[in-house]
């Protein structure tokens, strides 16, 4: 399978995004990172680490599970329910600038569900979207504010993000 991003490139990409975040947002105090389970969570933690290395500020980081907000939950006549995992946002999101983090941006439906879920936790000042890969084919009017890599794909292809924390290695692959 062709590798479109290796470990080294991933590290540099996340460092670049951390700089972009700080460039765009003046008040670092009001920033908070929320990663979408599964792979958005380690990416959010790495961004928090990268921001810390730049300005020694600790950005609060949370994890969001969007399963209960999916729009396709009750549409399948057969098959088990998707596994629900814990949402852990140990801070108030009121008046914060939330950086919502996911690995791949595709149809936009996950982000739609995540926005609905976030709003149930409070009223953030703003929500910005960070993705490692944007592979196109949006079905909803959603756009990322920070993109690691734009990856033109066809609908039949599959993009796999592997992260050390989850998969034992850092790599982005594209399956034909």
């Amino acid at each position: 399978m062709p590798v479109v991003m290796d470990a080294d490139r991933m590290t540099r990409t996340l460092t670049r995004i951390a700089h972009e975040i700080l460039e765009r947002n003046r008040g670092v105090e009001e920033l908070a990172l929320v990663g979408i389970r599964t792979r958005g969570v380690p990416i959010a933690r790495r961004l928090a680490q990268a921001i810390h290395e730049i300005n020694h500020h600790d950005v609060p980081t949370g994890a969001l599970d969007i399963t209960l907000y999916r729009d396709d939950l009750m549409r399948h006549a057969v098959g088990p329910q998707p596994v629900v995992r814990k949402t852990e946002i140990p801070f108030s999101i009121d008046d914060k600038c939330i950086l919502l983090v996911d690995d791949v941006l595709y149809t936009g439906r996950t982000i739609r569900a995540a926005l609905d879920a976030l709003i149930d936790f409070g009223r953030p000042k703003a929500i910005q979207l960070v993705v490692l890969i944007d592979r196109g084919h949006r079905e909803l009017p959603i756009k990322a504010d920070y993109v690691g890599k734009n990856l033109p794909t066809s609908l039949s292809q599959s993009v796999q993000v592997h992260l050390t924390e989850v998969d034992g290695r850092d790599e982005v692959e594209i399956e034909p």
Partner: protein, 306 residues
């Protein structure tokens, strides 16, 4: 497990853990400013209660509402059952209004199984006679796991009216499936024949059952089901089987005391035990909502928990 939750007997170890793990995620919703998720939007759940219940009915209703289901409650006191309608007719009439799930509490053992055969809707057993009360056993297991971090290898003493208790049956089935050592203890007159076939140790000595226990679960003396002379008097019952601070002292120092409610203080449990530091009775109630949300969610999908 098929489309319904009728009893712990039908669940595999994996299914039990799936419910418990899902409940962990559901519990967080109770801490949010908006305690509601849109998951069961547009689903209708009928709570059909043929026996009085506060805790279980309220718990199911809150669980349903937190998942955004539309709920309606039918209590026997206000229903056509009083006019002589059979369970089958009541069920078919409700079914004609196309609900998605029916939560049934009934005084007859097997009533939910009967309903499950004649209904398209998913059926959840909220207690059937002297048979099973699966969501109670699941929330008990959830509470035990939270405190002890495991269930396998624990000694669990269940003390009280064993004969009439569906809580005992569901708990015995569940806890032995997950590898706990279960002791059931009660007066000889309230020990059903063949109880040991559930894989539990049966004893009439509280001291022996509680000795070294990690968990002590008290069962209510069900006065409404006691037509015969099962115990000489409630006072004597308390003397011999009541859970007192002295008896709790025989268990492990970090023992937890459980009770499915409603409690008879001074009959099966002393007030200073029920309100003591080792009591997790109110945690059980809180966890009940999360566990029932998990069950509703898992059953609402296409093929249930398969």
């Amino acid at each position: 497990m098929k489309k319904d939750l009728l009893g712990i007997a039908d669940l595999s170890q994996e299914e039990i853990y799936l419910v418990l793990d899902t409940a962990e995620a559901m519990r967080e919703i109770a801490q949010r400013p908006i305690k509601k998720v849109p998951t069961l939007r547009g689903k209708t759940v009928v709570n059909l209660f043929f026996e009085p219940s506060t805790r279980t009915r309220t718990s199911f209703e809150i669980a349903e509402k937190r998942l955004s289901a539309d709920t309606l409650n039918i209590a026997v006191a206000t229903s056509s059952v009083l006019k002589g309608e059979t369970l089958a007719d009541t069920a078919m009439n409700i079914e004609a209004m196309a609900p998605d799930m029916i939560v049934l509490r009934h005084a007859s053992s097997g009533a939910p199984h009967f309903l499950s055969r004649i209904c398209r809707s998913r059926v959840i057993n909220a207690g059937d006679g002297m048979h099973e009360h699966p969501t109670q056993a699941l929330l008990d297991a959830f509470t035990i796991r939270e405190h002890k971090k495991r269930i396998g290898g624990l000694k669990v003493a269940i003390v009280g009216d064993l004969l009439h208790s569906r809580v005992l049956r569901s708990n015995a089935l569940l806890l032995t499936k997950l590898g706990a050592e279960v002791w059931a203890c009660g007066p000889r007159t309230l020990v059903p024949p063949g109880l040991d076939r559930l894989g539990v140790h049966v004893s009439t000595s509280v001291d022996r059952a509680v000795e070294g226990a990690d968990v002590v679960m008290m069962l209510r003396i069900q006065q409404e089901r006691m037509q015969g002379a099962f115990v000489p008097s409630l006072r004597e019952y308390f003397q011999v089987f009541g859970m007192t601070v002295e008896r709790v002292a025989r268990a492990k120092p970090d023992v937890i005391i459980m009770h499915p409610g409603p409690m008879n203080r001074g009959v099966e449990i002393a007030s200073d035990v029920a309100d003591g530091p080792y009591s997790v009775i109110l945690e059980q109630v809180a966890n009940g909502v999360a566990v029932r949300m998990a069950v509703l969610y898992l059953l609402a999908g296409g093929a249930g928990m398969d």
